[in-house]
Symmetry: C6
Subunit: 273 residues, 6 copies
C-alpha cells in the first residue's frame, strides 16, 4: 500500500466543485443570499454538530466562492486575521492573514465560534461589517475596500454564552442572524443514512436515541448528541462494531465523563439496540 | 460576471467627495465646528447604530479632511496608534501609526469605542488633547506639533460603562462632549426610506417596531433595535424576504439569544406585519 | 566503561519495529481500527499510568505508522503545534510543528493530557477532527489536506476535570472516545511480572497492595497506585531493595506528601510484605 | 487655504521662549526652586485640570530648561523611560528614552500621572531621586550621573488613589511634595477671561457654576468641573455657541454620563445663564 | 592583595573530584542507585537546608557524572530547559538548554524546587521520566533518546505545597521518591563541627537551639532553623562574633520578621549562650 | 552659567574614594565583615530612608569594592540580572547583567527591595547564595564560579510584607540578616545637622517632629517620617523656606494624601515651629 502525503492548497483553491450535501431547515438559503446581495454580513447561531459548517460549504458552492474558515480561540489576535510582516530570504514581506486575503480576493471569510476570540478580533471586523466595508491595515498604512463578492460570516453557539464570552451589541447589530437547530426526526434519519450508508431501521433507532439524550440537556448533560455523533456511530456500525459498543464510544463517552450519566445514557442505548 | 478585487487606499485617500447622508439631531454640527476652530477635541456619546460614525463621515466631508478611524479594543497599544519601526529590505524604517499619521498630515483621527482601549492608548492622547497639541514619539525621539487642521475625536457608548471600562476624569475633562441618540420617529422613518428604498408604509411600521424593542431595554434586552437594524430589515424586504422573516433575521436574532425574549420580539413583529 | 551519548531521531524514525507489549482490556483495538479506517479521531480517557501511552505505541506498531506524541500543558500554543518561521543561516525557513508534520507525512499525532492545553490548541484541531480533515496554516497561507494515513488521537484523565479545564462540547463531539482503567487483578499481576521480571508471588502481593490504595482514592489520596508504580517497586525489589523500602519509595512517597496518609499506606505495605 | 503639516521637534527644542501664563496659588514657586537648588525631586499633587502641567511649563521657562513630559500608563515600562537598542540600517544603536535623555542633557523630566505607571517605572527612578542622582542603564552597562541642571518631577491625583495604584512609601519619601487645587473664585475668573477672551460677567457666572459642580463631588460626580472645562465653555461661547449648549457640551457631558446627574448639572447651568 | 575574577566552567566541567561531605540518613544512597540502574527518575522531598543539594553532589561524585542543576521558578519555560535558537555572528545556531545538554551527554539533570516551575516545565519531562526516556525537541524537529548514563532528579519541599503549586499525579507517579529531614542531634552536631570548625560544646548548643525553633513551626514560624543556618551561626562565632549576635543574625533574623517571634527566638538563644 | 551634561561611568568605576558618612547603630559593620570573610550573603531589613543604602556605600568603601545596585521591581527578570545576547553592528554579543558583572569582577551586588522582584529573580541567586557560589548562565552554557571578593547583599522592608510578596524560606535561610531602624534621637539629630548644615536647635525640633509622626504609624500613616525626610526639610529651611512650609512640603505631603492625617501632621509641626 502506498503511503500518501498531505495535499497542499492555497485558500483560494479551497473551492467546492461538487455540491456539498445539505438539507435546508427553513428559508436560511434565501435570507443568506438576500443579505449577501446587499453586502450585509451573516451570523449563524446554533449547537455544535448541527450543520452550520456544512451550510457554509453549501453556500460557498452556490456562490462559487472560496471558503476561508478561521476557528476562533482565546489567543486569536487581530494580527492573526489581518496579517503580519515576515522576514524571508533577507526581505521583509507582508503576508495577508485569512481575513485580509478574503477581502482582497473577494472570498467568503467564515469566523467559526467567534465568541471565543479576543475582543480585538471582533472589533477589527467592525468597519468591514457596516456599510463602509473597509479593512484598515494599520501596519502597512493602507485600507482595503472590499469588492462586492466579499462575504463575511461568523458563527457561535448561544447555549454557551456567558457574561465574559458574549458578542457586544455593537458587533451583533451589524449582522443578519440565522438560527440553526437539529433537523426534525425524518430529516435527521435521512442525513444519517446518506452520510454513513447505514440502513434506515438502524438510522431511525439512532435518531430516537439522540432525541432521548437531548432531553437530558441541563439535567446532567451539557449538550445532547449532535447529528454528527449519530453519523459517527453509524459509521462504526457499518465497520462491524456492535451497536451497543458503537453508541458507547461514539456517543455516550463523547458526551460526558460523569459515571452516573454514562450509565443512564448506556441504558438508553441498551433499550434500543 | 467579472470577479472583483479589493481597492487599496492610503488613509489620506479616504476622503468623501460626495456628501454623506446625515440628518442632524440638534446643534451637533455647530458645536463640533466651534470646538474644531478652537483646537478642542470632541467626544461622541451614544448607543450603537444611531449614527455616530455617519456623523463623523459627514463632518469629514464638511471640513474636507481625510477621516482616519481606529476601532479600539482591549489589545490596542500605544504603539498601534503612534507607530513602530519595521525592517524592510534590510533597512529599518519608521511607520507612523494612524494617530501619528493624522497629526502629521492634519487629518481627523477618530477613535471608535475608545473605552475598550487599554489605558496607555487613552493616555497617549493627553498631550494632544489639551492646549499643547503635541504628540511625543519617544521611539524616534521627536515631538509632533499638530497643525491647526488636525482634529481629534472619539466615541463610546455610555450604556456599557463599567468600573473597569470607564474614561478617567483626566481624559474626559479634555474633550467637548456631544450626546447622540436615536432620531425621533418621523426622522427615523425618513432615514430608513432613504437608505433602503423601502416604501413609507413599511418604513413607518419598522420604526414602530424599533420603538417597541427599545422599551424592552433593561427588561431582558441589553439594547433596543438601532436605526441600522431597521435599514437591514428594510433591505431584506426589498430583496423579497417576507417582513416577518426579515424582522426575525435582521432584528430579533441580532438583538438577543434568549428564547423568551425572541418569542416576545417576534410576537411584536407579527402584530405589525 | 564507555560513556554513551543520546541517539538523535527524526519524528518519522520513531517507529516501532518490535511489538510493544500490551494486554487488551476490551474491544479498544477493534474500535480504534474502525474509527481509523473511517477517518475519525480518537479520544482516550483514563487515570495516569494505566496504559494509555502503551496502547498508542501498540496501535502505532499495528498500523505501522510513526507516533508523534505531544505532552500538552498550559503554555502550549497553536504555533507550537502548527509550526513557525525560523531564521537559519540568513534564510527564513518554515519549520512544521509536530501536528503539521504528522499531517504532512501521514503519521499518528497523539496529544497527551489535552485538557491541559490552552484553548487555541484544541481549536486548531477542529478542522482536522471533522470530515474536512484539513489543517489551515495561516502563517504560510496554505491548507494541508490530511492523507488517509493521518490519525489524530488525544488523551486526558477525566478524574481531574474542572470547570476551567474541560473539553468543550464542540471539541468532544468530534471524537470517538475510549475509556481506560486499571486491568483486573490477574491481568495486572501478569503485566507486573512481564515488565519487571519479579516472581509471581511478589507480583500478586503488589497488586493486592495497589488495590488497597485505590480504595483510598477520595479519602485522602488523589489517586491510587497505578500499574506503572507497581512496576517501579518490582524493579527496585529485583535490584535488592527490601520490599518495605521499595514500596515506600516507589509507591507511598510517590502517591502523597501527607504524613497521616503516608503512615496509613506504609502500614498497608507492612501488613503484606 | 493652505493645508499645514505637523512641526517636528526634538525634546531639547521644546523650550519656552515666552512666559507661559501662570497664576501662583501660594509659595509653590519658591519651594520648587529651593528643592531644585538642593537637587531634590518634586511631586505635584492635585485634581485634573487645575494647572499642574501649566505650572511645570512655567517653571521650565523660569529655569530655562527643556521640559520632557511623559504621560504615564499601565504599560509604560522601564525601557520606555531608559531606552532601548534599535536596529537601523544594519547597525544596532542605542536610543535614550525620555528619562535618560533628560538626565544626559540636564533637562526637566516630568512624569505625569505617575501612579498609573507600572511598578518598574517608579523603581527605576529611585537612584535618581535620592542623593546618588544616578541612572543605571543595565542594557548598556553604564551609569549616568545627573548634572546639577537635571530636575525630576512627577504628578498624580490623590483623589484617585486606590490600594493597587498607590505610590510606595519608599518612592514618596524621596520627593518634596506640593499640593495643588482649584484657584479661588477671583483668581479663577481672571484665568478664564485671560485664556478665552470672554467678558468678566460671563466668566464670573462660569466660575459660580464650576463651584456648584464641585460641591457635587462624591454625591454623584467623581470630580467637579476643572478650570480647564470653564475655559472650554468660554471658548465655545466666544465662538457663538449659546451659553446653555456650551455648558452642556463643554462641562456637563464632559463630567458625567449619568442621566440624573446630567439633568441636575444642566439645571444648575440653566439657573445661571 | 590580588583581586580575583570568576572562573568560567562548562556544565560538563562541573564534576566533583573530591568526595562532597555527606552523612547518610538511611538507605537513600542504595535506593537512588537501584533507581538509577533501572533508568527510573528520582524525586527528593524535604525542608530547605537539610542536605538535598549536598546529597545530589555526593551522588554525582559516586556516579562520576556531571551535575547540572536548574533552580526552578515561576517563569522557567520549557524553552529554558530544552533550548532555543540564537543568532550569533550572522548564523542562527541551536543552543541546548540544561536538560537537553544533560540528556545529550548523559549527565545528571537536577531540577531544584520543581513545584515552582510552570506547568510546561514539568510536562516536558514526562516522556523522559517514563520508559520511553526520550526528549522531544519540536523546534529542531528531533527526538533525543537518553543514554543509560542520563539521570533525572528533582526536589521540592512538601511543607509548602498548595493547591496551585502541586505536582500532578501524572508527574509524581513517574518518580521514585526519597524523603529527607533534619539529621538526628548527634549527627547534626557532627555536621556543624565539620563544616564550620567550631568546638563540640558550641555545636551541641546550636543543635539544641535549632530543635527548639523547629518546635515553633506552625506556631508562628513557617519553618525551623535548618542545618545550614547552624553552620552559618557557627562560622560567625569562629570569626569572633559573639554567640548571641551570631544567633540573632544568622538564625533568628533569617527565620522571621515578626517582632514577637523574634523576641521569643532571641530569648531561647539567650538562655543557651 | 555653563550647562552640564551627565557623567558616564561603568559599574566598576562606581567606587567610593571618600568615606561615605555613616553612623553605626550597633555591631552591623562587624557582622557584615564576618559574613563577607566567610562568603556568606547578607540581608538588610528595615524601613525606607533609615540608611540601608548608605550603609552599603560605607561597606563598599571599607572593602574597596565597586557597588552595583539593582532596584528590584515586579518586572525584573532573571535575564535582567544575568544578561542577554544583543545584536550590535551585525555581531551578536553577550552582555552581562549587573549580577553576572559583579560575579565576574568580584564586586558587591546589592539587590534593593528584593521582595518586589519576580520569583525567578530570587531563585537565580540560590546557587550563588549557598556554598556553591556559582551563577549558572544557561543562555551561554556556562557557569561562573564567584571569586572570594564577590559579595551578595539584598534589602527589603519587612513592614510591607504580604503573603504575595514574601521571601521564601529557601531564600531567607541562605542569608545572614541585619535589622536596621531609625537612629536614636541624639544620633539622628547629629545626622540631620551633618547632612543639611542646619543648626542644632532646628535639627532637634525636626527629630522631635519625626518621632511624633512615627507614633502615628498604623493609626492613619503607613510609615512615619524617615531620617531622609528630615534632611529634606532641613535643606529647604537652609534655603530660606519657612519651617512650617518646609515641614509641610518635605514631610507631611510626602507621607500621606489623607486630608485628616495632613491636618494632624501639620498641627504637630505648627506646635513645634
Amino acid at each position: 500500500m502506498t503511503h500518501h502525503h498531505a495535499r497542499v492548497l492555497t485558500p483560494e483553491e479551497y473551492l467546492f466543485t461538487e455540491e456539498p450535501y445539505y438539507e435546508p431547515l427553513g428559508e436560511e438559503i434565501a435570507v443568506f443570499e438576500a443579505a449577501y446581495r446587499n453586502g450585509l454580513p451573516v451570523l449563524l447561531k446554533g449547537p455544535t454538530g448541527c450543520g452550520k459548517t456544512r451550510f457554509m460549504e453549501h453556500m460557498a458552492w452556490r456562490l462559487q466562492l472560496p471558503l476561508i474558515t478561521v476557528s476562533c480561540h482565546d489567543d486569536l489576535t487581530a494580527s492573526d486575521l489581518v496579517g503580519r510582516f515576515l522576514v524571508r530570504g533577507g526581505e521583509t514581506i507582508w503576508v495577508d492573514g485569512p481575513l485580509a486575503r478574503a477581502v482582497r480576493n473577494g472570498s467568503i471569510c467564515y469566523l467559526d465560534e467567534v465568541v471565543e476570540a479576543r475582543k480585538d478580533t471582533t472589533v477589527v471586523i467592525h468597519p468591514l461589517a457596516d456599510d463602509r466595508r473597509v479593512l484598515p491595515m494599520e501596519k502597512v498604512g493602507e485600507l482595503l475596500e472590499a469588492p462586492p463578492e466579499f462575504c463575511l460570516a461568523m458563527s457561535y453557539n448561544p447555549g454557551y454564552q456567558s457574561v465574559l464570552k458574549d458578542l457586544k451589541q455593537s458587533t451583533r447589530q451589524r449582522f443578519v442572524a440565522l438560527e440553526f437547530d437539529y433537523p426534525d426526526a425524518a430529516l435527521e434519519q435521512k442525513i444519517v443514512e446518506k452520510e454513513s450508508g447505514i440502513d434506515s431501521q438502524m438510522a431511525r433507532q439512532l435518531v430516537k436515541f439522540a432525541r432521548m439524550t437531548r432531553n437530558l440537556k441541563g439535567q446532567g448533560l451539557d449538550e445532547g448528541a449532535s447529528t454528527r455523533l449519530l453519523v459517527h456511530a453509524a459509521k462504526l456500525m457499518v465497520a462491524d462494531v456492535s451497536p451497543v459498543i458503537a453508541c458507547r464510544s461514539a456517543i455516550a463517552q463523547a458526551l460526558t465523563d460523569d459515571s452516573d450519566m454514562l450509565s443512564a445514557v448506556n441504558e438508553l442505548s441498551a433499550s434500543l439496540f
